[in-house]
């Protein structure tokens, strides 16, 4: 009986927590399905209205920006390219960096690793002007390449992969060598499949990281053609319901990625192998 009470109590606390997090999002969603005059007169709404299609379609296709040449759809496309690019590029570079650090006989590999690691203490915001001038010199302003590359070296992902590789028993490498595997084959046939779940987890982290970038895209794009969703949140003008609709849609891609990959994600974070 006491167990029932304590477990009900903890469930109650969790439910309150969920409500606190979900209700504002729900109110924005519900409000985004009404007309703006309705919202302006009656404030935020708890229940769904009947302007869902009208509002969302208009937001997706409306030509916004100062020069009226960017649509929300294009922003989603840009953000998707940028987030995917950051995710893939940073996972690939981290995998290879960690491989070299752990398996090649590099002098001072540990020191090198810590040098890579302390870049965590130097976030993009601190180095943004030198980085910008490099990209400008290379003529990469206003390009996907310029959006992606400067934020695609991840010390965190390198740390994760390095720690994982260190737990892989030496006998596995030796056994593979005797089976005729060279360094490349060992990487492709062993380390990548063995770290599959961790790769997926890192892809999700880095996707969300790339998707959420604000300052860098703001700086490196002058053409509206390269605006991203997060920039659009600030830049979009329009009536309140359309902004609400845009906010709601901006949450969809990261959520979709997490839902699609969550099975692997949870395994990768909470299980070593």
């Amino acid at each position: 009986m006491t167990r029932f009470i304590t477990s009900s109590f903890s469930h109650l606390i969790l439910l309150i927590g969920i409500l606190i997090m979900v209700v504002p999002v729900w109110m924005i969603f519900a409000s985004s399905t009404h007309t703006s005059s309705m919202i302006n007169m009656n404030g935020l709404q708890m229940f769904l209205g009947d302007s869902f299609y009208e509002n969302y379609l208009r937001v997706l296709l409306y030509q916004g920006g100062f020069f009226k040449e960017i649509t929300a759809l294009k922003m989603f496309f840009n953000s998707f390219i940028m987030a995917t690019g950051v995710a893939i590029l940073s996972v690939v570079t981290s995998l290879m960096a960690a491989y070299a650090l752990v398996y090649y006989r590099i002098k001072h590999a540990t020191l090198l690793f810590w040098i890579i690691f302390i870049t965590i203490l130097v976030p993009l915001e601190l180095r943004i002007f030198p980085t910008y001038s490099v990209m400008a010199e290379l003529n990469l302003v206003n390009s996907y390449f310029g959006l992606i590359v400067p934020i695609s070296a991840s010390a965190i992902a390198t740390l994760f992969f390095r720690q994982f590789y260190k737990t892989v028993p030496d006998e596995l490498l030796e056994s593979a060598k005797l089976d005729g595997a060279n360094t490349w084959r060992f990487f492709v046939d062993f380390l990548i499949p063995l770290s599959k779940t961790m790769i997926v987890a890192m892809l999700i982290f880095m996707f969300v990281f790339g998707y959420n970038q604000y300052l860098w895209p703001l700086l490196v794009t002058t053409s509206e053609q390269y605006w991203t969703v997060v920039m659009g949140l600030k830049m979009m003008s329009g009536s309140i319901v359309h902004r609400f609709a845009f906010v709601i849609m901006s949450m969809v891609p990261p959520i979709l990625i997490i839902i699609v990959l969550q099975k692997h994600f949870i395994k990768g974070v909470f299980q070593d192998k």
């Binding site: 056994s175 005797l178 062993f190 063995l194």
Partner: protein, 350 residues
């Protein structure tokens, strides 16, 4: 030149540990060689140098007429079975066996046939689709063997492959390994610290101590004719009894008895070795044993007790004799089956 030739091979690890000292050894084609010795004596190091997993500090290793020193392990055509099997955890059994063949660019049908043949030989055909984590210890052992066999390598290397199995399975797999090796006929080196395993498996065995081969020979040669105190103590179970003594004018005086007409001109402090199974009861025997404990194994009794000078001593007799705890036995050494070692160097002197 024989099939595998080690010449003055030395291994010094980067931290300065000298694990193998100037070891020379020849192994014939098809031979089953066992390296036996206590833990840390350098057996694995020697084996790993043959595999190419450790650099050779000094000396030469020749396999099938080719100098191996600088050859990459992937090019040596050797197969190794590790103590923890080192199966590929993300591949099913079929791919575990097939992986080495794929790397050699062998076509799919041939691979399939070879894997199936090896699987049949090892009775693992039913598990080909399983991952290693879904296999028992004995099955994993077989997969590890299969991975070695399927490639038909020049030489099999085993590094204590049975030590993770329970006692019963270990004996069974020991037998199977021996049978398999005879059937396949591949030259093999087997490393173990277990002298029973060594005796039962080996065509020839090398007893290693502190990075040196103390003695090389067939199991029976080594059992019958140990060349040093170390080998005498290491091979044989229960262990040989050792007693202090003094040798002078071909007469050995141990505490409580003498042996005359010894076939040795050595003079000085010696250790006398007698195997528990080389004793028998007789009236007025040389040795008088006060029985403290009898282990009845059925076929044999192991009698543990003390001599007059409180020295521990073991005697092995047929299981049909009844021996009372607390009784006194009078024992004689079977005809000349004793070993005398120089106490300071451990070298055999008779």
């Amino acid at each position: 030149m024989s099939f595998l030739d080690l010449k003055n091979v030395t291994k010094i690890y980067p931290n300065g540990t000298k694990a193998v000292h100037e070891t020379s050894l020849s192994i014939n084609e098809g031979e089953f060689m066992v390296f036996v010795g206590p833990s840390g004596c350098g057996k694995s190091t020697l084996l790993r140098m043959v595999a190419g997993l450790e650099d050779i500090t000094e000396g030469d290793i020749n396999l099938d007429g080719k100098l191996m020193n600088e050859v990459d392990p992937s090019e040596r055509d050797v197969a190794m079975v590790f103590q923890n099997y080192a199966l590929y955890p993300h591949m099913n059994v079929y791919n575990n066996l097939a992986y080495g063949l794929k790397n050699r660019g062998i076509d799919k049908e041939t691979i399939e046939q070879k894997v199936n043949d090896a699987a049949k030989l090892l009775q693992i055909s039913d598990y080909l689709q399983r991952k290693p984590s879904m296999l028992s210890g004995g099955q994993r052992q077989r997969v590890a063997m299969g991975r070695a066999i399927v490639r038909n390598p020049k030489i099999f290397l085993f590094d204590e492959p049975l030590s993770n199995l329970d006692a019963k399975l270990r004996i069974q797999m020991r037998l199977e390994i021996k049978k398999l090796q005879q059937k396949v006929g591949v030259t093999s080196i087997f490393v173990t610290h277990d002298q029973v395993e060594a005796m039962t498996l080996a065509d020839r065995l090398a007893v290693i101590n502190n990075g040196i081969i103390e003695q090389l020979g067939t199991p029976i040669e080594i059992y019958d004719n140990p060349k040093s105190l170390f080998v005498a103590g290491f091979i044989g179970s229960p262990q040989m009894n050792f007693l202090d003594g003094n040798l002078k004018n071909k007469t050995l005086s141990a505490e409580g008895f003498e042996i005359k007409d010894i076939n040795s001109d050595f003079e000085g402090e010696v250790t006398l070795g007698i195997r528990p199974e080389h004793l028998s009861q007789s009236e007025n025997g040389l040795i008088s044993l006060r029985v403290e404990l009898v282990e009845q194994l059925g076929s044999d009794n192991l009698v543990y007790g003390q001599l007059k000078n409180k020295k521990d001593f073991c005697y092995r007799c047929p299981g049909n004799q009844t021996i009372e705890k607390g009784s006194n036995l009078s024992l004689n050494i079977d005809n000349n089956k004793y070993y005398i070692f120089d106490k300071s160097t451990g070298k055999r002197v008779n």
